[in-house]
C-alpha cells in the first residue's frame, strides 16, 4: 500500500507511558471531589432464589451510611446488557440468578463504612435449587432461569454435506474437549466515580464509554446527552470492563443524583471475580474425517458454552465459536452448532479471544490426533490443509490477499530445534504445534464504524481524537504513529486525546482486535485530509503543483529539489491564515458482513489474523512440573505498526493463554466461587513467564492502515492449544480438558505407569 515509510515499523515508546512510570497517571480511583461518598454493593450470596424482602434499616443505622438503594430506586428500566432483549437488572428486584448478583447499594462517608453497611443489609431469599451445569439447564423439566428458557443463543453453520463426506473418509477421529471459566484478573479492579450536576460526569475504568453512556442514561431516565463519560486510565480490561462498568456506573450516577454528591464505587478484588463476567467454560465435541493423503474433507463440531446467569456477550461469543470451530483450514464440508446456556453462575461475556481459545484448543488437539493416526508430521498436516489466498474458509469467505497462514508455518518450520532437550530418568520432553485464525473486528457481530478526528495546530503539533480506548494495548501509540507517518511529523508532536464522550466521536466498542485495523484506518483517513490542506498550501508557497510536494521529517519538501523545504509549522500557519482546514473528522466503515443466517455462509470478517506456534516443554515426571523451554509465536499481522507494542501484545496474550491452559480455574462449590482472590486463583507470575519469541509475517491487509491487522487476541488461542499439544507429546497422554494442571499431569503419569 505504501512503499516507503519513516516511522511505521519503528520501535516506539508508548506515547502515554511517562505518566505511568511516575505515578502521575490518574486511574478512576485516584479522583477525589469535595463531598465525595463511597458505594458498596450488597450481593445475593446464594446462586438462585427469589427475594422475599430487603431490610435496609440495619444498614442505615451503621455510622457513616448516608443512603441505601434498592431496585425500586432506579428511575429507568433497571436493565443492562449487550443485545436486546436486555436481561440483566442493575439491582435484582425479584429473582436471584447468581451468587454475585447485586441487590442493593450502600453509600457512606467512607468505603469502609459502606462495606459495613452492605454487610448489614438484611436480604431474605427463598432459595431455589441452583442450576449449575449445562446438562441440568438443558434437562427437559429444568426450571427456567429466564422466561425465555435456558438456551441463551444457538446457531448453526452448514457448508457442504458432512454426513456423506464422513462416509468417504479413510480416517475418522472423534472426541470431546472441555475448558474452564477464566477470570480477566486485570490488576485494577473495576472503579467508577460519578459527579452530579446539570449533566452527569462519570469517570470510569472502562472499555467502551459510549456503550456505558447509553445504558447509564437509560437507567437514570435521562437522555444520553445528559451524561458524559470520561475514560480514566484503565488498568487492563481484556473484555471485562463493559457490563460491570455499566452496572456500577449507573448505580454511582443514581446515587449521585439522590445525594447531590460525587459517588465512587470501587470493587474489591473478590467482587471483581464474583461480580463481573468471566470467560465461558466450554464443552466441545468434534469429529474430523480425512483422506489417507492427509486432506481433511469434513468436520462436525458441537459447542456448548456455559454462559452463567445473564446473556452479556454470549450471543456474539457463540457466533465466534461457530465461525472458528473448524480451524484455519480449507475443509469442503463443515457443520457446526454452537449454543450458549444460562446457569446460576457468574455471567460470562467478552474475554480476549472471545470463544476462539476454547474451540482452537479442541480443534488443534484433534488435528494432532489425526496427524498421529495418519502418520503425518504435525506441521505437515497443517501445511496440507491450511488456508491459502483464494481458498474458501468455513463460512465460504474467500480472501485474495493477506492469508499468511502458510508463511507462519514455514517460519516455524525453518527455526532450529532448541538445544538441550534430552530425556533422562526423571524428565521427558515434548514439542507441540498449533495453528490459529482469528477474525478481526466486529464482522458478523455488528456494524463496524469508527470516527476519528485529526487536527493540526499552527505550530505543527497534532491532536488525534477517537472513541476507541487505550487499555494498555498501545492503541494511542499506534494512532500517533499513523498520524505522524501521514503528516510527515515526529511522533512526539502527536497527542492522542483521552476518550471523553463530549470530545470524541462514537467509534463503537473497543473489542475484537479492531483498534489498529478499523480505528487506525479512520485516523489514516482524517490525517490524509489534513495532509491535503498542507500539501495545497505548500504548493502555493513553492509555486508548484501539489503532486510535487512531500511531507516528511517535519518539512514540506519539493520532490524535484529536496533543498527546497518549508517547516510544516510554517505551512500550517499559512494554511490557517489562508483558510485551509487543518482539522478533519473521518469515518472508517468496514464492509458489512453479508452471510446467510441459517447456514452462516458468506462474508463475515474484514480480515483474519493467522498464526502458528511451536512450544517445547520439559516435564518432571516426579512432580508433574512443566518447564517451557521454547515458545515461537508466528503471526501474520499484515503490517507491523510498532514492533514494541506488537511484541507486548503477543507476549501478554500468550501468557494469558498459558494461564488458561495450565493454571487458571474458577472453582465453584454449590454455585459459590471458592477462589476469589489471587492466593487461590493463581494467575501467572514472573516465574511462570514464557520465553515467547514473536515472529511476524507481513501479508498486507487491504482493509487496514498501511496493511495492518489486529493482533491482540489470537495468541491466547494459539498458546492454549500449543501447550496442550506439547504436553501430550511429552507425556504420551492426550489431555482433553483445560487447564492441564501439574496435578492432572502427575495423575496421568501415575495411571500410565499402571497400564
Amino acid at each position: 500500500m505504501v512503499s516507503s515509510v519513516s516511522v511505521i515499523g519503528k520501535r516506539i515508546r508508548k506515547v502515554d507511558g511517562r505518566e505511568m512510570v511516575t505515578g502521575e497517571a490518574k486511574f478512576s480511583g485516584d479522583y477525589i471531589f469535595p463531598g465525595m461518598v463511597y458505594g458498596t454493593v450488597k450481593r445475593a450470596g446464594v446462586p438462585a432464589g427469589r427475594i422475599k424482602s430487603i431490610d435496609v434499616t440495619p444498614a442505615n443505622a451503621v455510622p457513616g451510611v448516608v443512603d441505601v438503594l434498592v431496585a425500586a430506586d432506579i428511575p429507568g428500566p433497571n436493565l443492562i446488557g449487550i443485545l436486546p432483549p436486555l436481561d440483566q437488572p442493575v439491582l435484582a428486584s425479584d429473582e436471584i440468578r447468581y451468587a454475585g448478583e447485586s441487590v442493593a447499594l450502600v453509600v457512606a462517608e467512607s468505603a469502609e463504612a459502606a462495606r459495613r453497611g452492605a454487610q448489614a443489609v438484611a436480604v431474605e431469599i427463598e432459595a431455589y435449587e441452583p442450576i449449575l451445569t449445562v446438562d441440568a439447564a438443558l434437562a427437559p423439566d429444568a426450571r427456567k432461569i429466564h422466561e425465555t428458557g435456558n438456551v441463551t443463543f444457538s446457531k448453526k453453520l452448514r457448508k457442504g454435506e458432512v454426513e456423506s463426506a464422513f462416509e468417504r473418509a479413510d480416517i475418522l477421529v472423534e472426541g470431546d474437549y472441555e475448558t474452564s471459566f477464566q477470570e480477566h484478573a486485570y490488576l485494577e479492579p473495576e472503579t467508577v466515580c460519578a459527579v452530579p450536576g446539570r449533566r452527569f460526569t462519570l469517570y470510569a475504568s472502562c472499555q467502551s464509554p459510549f456503550h456505558i453512556r447509553g445504558h447509564v442514561a437509560a437507567n437514570l431516565g435521562v437522555p444520553a446527552s445528559s451524561v458524559k463519560v470520561i475514560q480514566a486510565n484503565t488498568g487492563g480490561s481484556f473484555g471485562g470492563k463493559d457490563d460491570v462498568a455499566t452496572e456500577i456506573g449507573a448505580l454511582a450516577c443514581i446515587a449521585a443524583q439522590r445525594l447531590n454528591r460525587p459517588v465512587m464505587i470501587a470493587h474489591e478484588r473478590k467482587e471483581s471475580i464474583v461480580g463481573s463476567n468471566l470467560r465461558h467454560a466450554a464443552r466441545i465435541h468434534i469429529k474430523t474425517g480425512a483422506l489417507k493423503d492427509g486432506r481433511i474433507i469434513a468436520r462436525e463440531v458441537r459447542v456448548l458454552l456455559d454462559g452463567g446467569a445473564y446473556a452479556s456477550e454470549s450471543p456474539f461469543v457463540t457466533m465466534k465459536t461457530l465461525i472458528h470451530a473448524a480451524g484455519p483450514y480449507n475443509i469442503e464440508n463443515v457443520s457446526v452448532e454452537s449454543t450458549s446456556i444460562y446457569t446460576n453462575k457468574t455471567y460470562c461475556g467478552a474475554f480476549r479471544g472471545f470463544g476462539v481459545p476454547q474451540v482452537t484448543f479442541a480443534s488443534e488437539s484433534q488435528i494432532d490426533e489425526l496427524a498421529e493416526k495418519l502418520g503425518l508430521d504435525p506441521l505437515e498436516i497443517r501445511r496440507i490443509n491450511g488456508l491459502r489466498a483464494g481458498d474458501p474458509n468455513a463460512t465460504g469467505q474467500i480472501y485474495e490477499q493477506s492469508v499468511g497462514l502458510l508463511e507462519t508455518i514455514e517460519e516455524i518450520a525453518k527455526r532450529p530445534e532448541p538445544a538441550g532437550r534430552k530425556d533422562d530418568d526423571r524428565h521427558v520432553h515434548g514439542t507441540g504445534y498449533a495453528a490459529v485464525a482469528q477474525g478481526i473486528s466486529n464482522g458478523a457481530e455488528g456494524i463496524d464504524v469508527t470516527g476519528a478526528s485529526v487536527q493540526m495546530s499552527q505550530d505543527g503539533s497534532v491532536l488525534v481524537g477517537i472513541g476507541l480506548t487505550e487499555l494498555g494495548q498501545g492503541s494511542r501509540t499506534v494512532y500517533a504513529l499513523i498520524a505522524a507517518e501521514v503528516l510527515g511529523v515526529d511522533v512526539d508532536s502527536v497527542s492522542v486525546r483521552s476518550v471523553d464522550t463530549d470530545a470524541v466521536h462514537d467509534s463503537g466498542p473497543t473489542v475484537a482486535s479492531r483498534s489498529t485495523t478499523v480505528g487506525g484506518m479512520a485516523v489514516h483517513k482524517a490525517a490524509s485530509e489534513v495532509k491535503k490542506s498542507l500539501v495545497s498550501m505548500a504548493a502555493l508557497m513553492m509555486k508548484t503543483e501539489g503532486e510535487n510536494i512531500e511531507l516528511r521529517d517535519g518539512f514540506a519538501v519539493l520532490r524535484t529539489d529536496e533543498s527546497a523545504r518549508i517547516p510544516i509549522a510554517s505551512v500550517a500557519t499559512a494554511a490557517y491564515w489562508t483558510g485551509f482546514p487543518l482539522m478533519n473528522l473521518a469515518f472508517s466503515k468496514a464492509p458489512e458482513a453479508n452471510f446467510d443466517d441459517e447456514t452462516h455462509q458468506g462474508d463475515v470478517y474484514i480480515a483474519y489474523n493467522y498464526g502458528t506456534h511451536r512450544m517445547d516443554v520439559r516435564v518432571d515426571t516426579l512432580t508433574g512440573e512443566v518447564t517451557v523451554l521454547n515458545h515461537l509465536a508466528a503471526h501474520d499481522v499484515g503490517r507491523v505498526i510498532n514492533p514494541l507494542g506488537l511484541e507486548g501484545q503477543v507476549e501478554g496474550a500468550s501468557l494469558m493463554g498459558f494461564g488458561l491452559a495450565h493454571m487458571e480455574r474458577i472453582q465453584y462449590v454449590d454455585g459459590i466461587i471458592q477462589n476469589a482472590n489471587f492466593a487461590d486463583y493463581a494467575v501467572p507470575s514472573i516465574k511462570d513467564r514464557l520465553p515467547t519469541a514473536t515472529i511476524t509475517v507481513e501479508d498486507p491487509n487491504p482493509t487496514g492502515p498501511f496493511g495492518a491487522k489486529g493482533a491482540g487476541e489470537p495468541p491466547v488461542a494459539a498458546t492454549a492449544a500449543v501447550f496442550a499439544n506439547a504436553v501430550a507429546d511429552a507425556v504420551g497422554v492426550r489431555f482433553t480438558r483445560l487447564p492441564i494442571t501439574r496435578e492432572d499431569i502427575l495423575d496421568a503419569l501415575k495411571r500410565g505407569n499402571h497400564d
Partner: protein, 162 residues
C-alpha cells in the same frame, strides 16, 4: 494520632489512626495516588513501596509501623528536575509498561533489588519481582527492563534516556 515519617526524602506528618493502612495514609492523607490497590491482601504487589529501602505491601502495613521511618513511593523516584530514574527510562524503552497499574510497584521492587545488587542475574530479578503481578505484558519485557536498568546504573554507564 499524628504519624510522622519521611516520605520521598521529606519529613511529613499525617493525622491517622495507628491501625490505618499505609496505603490509605499515602493515597488519602498525602494524595500520593501512584501507589495502587489491586487486591488489599498483599497478593498482587501493586501497592509496593519502599520502607527503609525494602519493598513492602502498603496495603498490609499499618501506619503505626512507619513512624520515624523512611518511605519511598513512585512519586519519589524521578529527579527534582523531572528527569526520569534509569529504571523508569528502561521500563519505557523496553516496552515493560502496558496499562500501567502494576508499574509503580514493579519499579519500586526493581529499585530495591538494584540498590542492593548492581548486576543481578535473571533469577534474582525473578525473585525480587515474584510478588508483583502483571496481567498485560507477560513479564518478558519487565525482566528486560530491570536488566537494562542495571546496566545503565552501573558505575560509569551512560544514564541517559532513549
Amino acid at each position: 494520632m499524628v504519624i510522622r515519617f519521611t516520605c520521598n526524602g521529606r519529613a511529613v506528618q499525617v493525622e491517622a489512626e495507628p491501625e490505618a493502612r499505609v496505603i490509605d495514609v499515602l493515597r488519602d492523607g498525602l494524595r500520593l495516588t501512584g501507589t495502587k490497590e489491586g487486591c488489599g491482601r498483599g497478593e498482587c504487589g501493586a501497592c509496593t513501596v519502599l520502607l527503609d529501602g525494602k519493598p513492602v505491601n502498603a496495603c498490609l502495613l499499618l501506619a503505626g509501623k512507619i513512624v520515624d521511618r523512611d518511605v519511598v513511593t513512585i512519586e519519589g523516584i524521578a529527579g527534582e528536575d523531572g528527569s526520569l530514574h534509569p529504571i523508569q527510562e528502561a521500563f519505557l524503552d523496553t516496552g515493560a509498561v502496558q496499562c500501567g497499574f502494576c508499574t509503580p510497584g514493579m519499579i519500586l521492587s526493581a529499585k530495591a533489588l538494584l540498590d542492593e545488587i548492581d548486576t543481578p542475574g535473571v533469577a534474582e530479578v525473578e525473585e525480587a519481582l515474584a510478588g508483583n503481578l502483571c496481567r498485560c505484558t507477560g513479564y518478558g519485557k519487565v525482566v528486560d527492563a530491570v536488566l537494562a536498568a542495571s546496566r545503565r546504573m552501573a558505575p560509569g554507564a551512560d544514564r541517559g534516556g532513549e
